[in-house]
Amino acid sequence: MGKLTIGCFSSLVGSMTLDFAVKLCAAAIDKGHKVDFWVSGNGTMLSIKDQRAFKDYSALEKPLKELMAKGLNVTACEACAEARGYHKDNTMEGFKRHSMDWYLASAFDADRVLHIGGE
């Protein structure tokens, strides 16, 4: 079994890219792999708690919590979050916040890195 590090970056909220990343995390964990998931830029929106699950909008809080229970390691870029007004007290339980070096450290011993940086 391997380790997959996924990074999901800016300009991606409201696209299906975060949905893709969460489904890929799930598929990898189901196969017994270890998964680190880093969100930065606009992707940090994923970390906010109490997102209303409308059917018109991607609602990822529930699947994320299930994945965290199965061992998903998920971290938001602290500066990117603070700059958007996402503070510790409105962060989803279990969602970590660190500076950018966390992502690079995760890549250090990853077997594969999928960096979703573009549009």
């Binding site: 606009n42 950018m100 070096d101 690079l104 250090f108």
Partner: protein
């Protein structure tokens, strides 16, 4: 004692999205990653500007004066100050009619010793082959 090499490839122009800036700030974070690693372990970050991404390197950007925002130019200078290896694709500069005079080459005012390297794309291909993981922005 192990080293993991990361290659950051910036293919898009600045400001329209945060990607190029985040590429630089994340690459700079390679300088503080050891707090998470064992003694002697390293993560290195090389940065290459290709395609429209070379527009990030144009000098005299006034983002701070006008929008109160750190310019991509300043982020490149910070990366040079921290001794990161920065490659700029020679063919793409030429395609846009840009020369070394038009882009950020050094950050002497900050005391940086490192300089931006204008190299043929083949050198960037070589970098992509040598690193462990690729991060495209």
């Amino acid at each position: 004692m192990a080293t993991t090499k990361l290659g950051f490839i910036v293919q898009r122009p600045p400001y329209k999205s945060e990607n190029p800036k985040l590429a630089l700030t994340h690459a700079i974070a390679s300088q503080s990653v050891e707090v998470y690693l064992k003694e002697g372990d390293l993560v290195t970050a090389d940065i290459a500007f290709i395609g429209d991404g070379v527009l990030n390197c144009i000098k005299n950007q006034k983002a701070m004066d006008i929008y109160k925002l750190t310019s991509t130019e300043t982020h490149i200078k910070m990366a040079l100050l921290l001794d990161l290896n920065i490659l700029v694709c020679k063919e793409d500069l030429a395609r846009f009619g840009l020369t070394e005079n038009d882009i950020v080459i050094d950050a002497e005012e900050f005391g940086a010793e490192m300089k931006t390297k204008v190299v043929p794309f083949s050198e960037i291909t070589k970098m992509m082959e040598e690193v462990n993981h690729l991060l495209f922005f």
